[in-house]
């Protein structure tokens, strides 16, 4: 992933945050994320980090002020809350049938909408795959509870885990990248064996030990040895 590509990827993920929040904080958080990438010699978020961002964005849509206190809700004016759900799903009986990874974004949005419908909310699926729910300010607490319950049931934060096959394919690409880096004289961390890599959820990267340098230095290394992207 190049620097520009990582930046775009983070920007896409940061769209999960509400607009008011993005106006104030998006650029600063993006800068921090890219700084962190530099320090760790890589480009773009891990699966876990991407989901941690998405969920944080979602929570801020639902509960605009993070005051760290459960149970205190800020009043909202009547609002349309758009939830963009990307991931695979298991809701009761629905899940068993569908191979989660095979679901399209629309399919996933549909499942979230169904879950919210079952709880009595009118939903609308937008062209971007988002699920919009309209509610009045005095319904906010209930809406938040229901949305969080759906998200938990849908196992949103577990969804992002890559499949075994994806991890195995990714491992092979990382080994090739490691050879490429070593041929060019860069030190790389020792590779775990394949099953350890898969069990750990793909935490090893040959790019982790690159010397600190400018974005341009890193971009140059990546032009010679492209960093494979685990995203499907």
């Amino acid at each position: 992933m190049t620097d520009a590509k990582a930046r775009r990827r983070y920007q896409r993920i940061l769209r999960w945050y509400p607009k008011e929040w993005r106006v104030q904080h998006e650029q600063v958080m993006l800068g921090t994320l890219l700084d962190m990438d530099d320090a760790r010699g890589r480009r773009g978020p891990t699966f876990g980090e991407a989901w941690s961002l998405r969920l944080d964005g979602l929570r801020r849509r639902l509960r605009p002020v993070d005051d760290g206190l459960a149970g205190r809700r800020r009043r909202m004016t009547p609002a349309i809350v758009g939830l963009v759900i990307v991931g695979c799903v298991s809701v009761g009986g629905l899940a068993a049938a569908a191979a989660p990874a095979a679901l399209s974004d629309e399919g996933r949005a549909q499942l979230l909408a169904t879950c919210l419908n079952d709880k009595g909310w009118a939903t609308e699926i937008g062209a971007d795959g988002g699920v919009a729910v309209e509610y009045q300010s005095d319904q906010e607490a209930q809406h938040l509870a229901d949305a969080e319950s759906c998200i938990t049931t849908l196992q949103l934060n577990r969804i992002a885990k890559p499949s075994r096959a994806q991890l195995e394919a990714h491992y092979a690409k990382l080994l090739a990248a490691q050879r490429c880096l070593e041929e060019r004289g860069y030190a790389t961390p020792k590779a775990p064996d394949r099953s350890t890599f898969v069990v750990s959820g793909g935490t090893w990267s040959p790019f982790a030990a690159l010397p600190n340098g400018t974005a341009e230095d890193l971009a140059q290394i990546e032009r010679a040895c492209p960093q494979p992207d685990l995203q499907p």
């Binding site: 904080h25 650029q27 600063v28 958080m29 993006l30 800068g31 921090t32 994320l33 890219l34 700084d35 962190m36 320090a39 980090e49 941690s52 961002l53 969920l55 944080d56 002020v65 993070d66 005051d67 760290g68 400018t214 974005a215």
Partner: protein, 128 residues
């Protein structure tokens, strides 16, 4: 928010370490994240922060007026926002530290002799 809000916030480990990291000088997001990891490493269980957790803590500390934004600048196309402790934040960190020290002393005084593991080196080992 009153005093109880502040002490509750300070009892959050992440918030405590963020204030500790900022007690040296003003810092921007990634520098805070890195220094929280460095400082907390010397207590034996490093606090590894995700970026959203960091910004959640910064938001709350800012709202409690324990920290404030000093400046914003763009370096190499990246926006950076620098935070520093307020007077209120410095006092709150001092109070919390005194409270933790007292807690350790009391615990130490009731524990049987000979069970002293190394607890003295707490905050000083920056290791850089």
């Amino acid at each position: 928010m009153g005093v109880s809000g502040v002490s509750r916030e300070l009892s959050n480990e992440v918030s405590f370490w963020v204030l500790a990291a900022l007690s040296e000088e003003s810092k921007h997001g990634y520098a805070i994240l890195r220094d929280v990891e460095l400082l907390s490493t010397s207590q034996g269980s490093p606090v590894s922060l995700k970026v959203p957790t960091l910004y959640g803590a910064l938001d709350r500390l800012n709202r409690l007026e324990l920290i404030e934004v000093v400046s914003e600048e763009v370096v190499d196309g990246r926006a950076r926002r620098y935070y520093r402790l307020t007077e209120h934040g410095t006092a709150a960190l001092e109070e919390e530290t005194v409270r933790l020290e007292a807690r350790v002393r009391v615990a130490r005084s009731v524990m049987p002799a000979g069970s002293s593991a190394s607890t003295s080196a707490v905050v000083d080992g920056r290791g850089r």
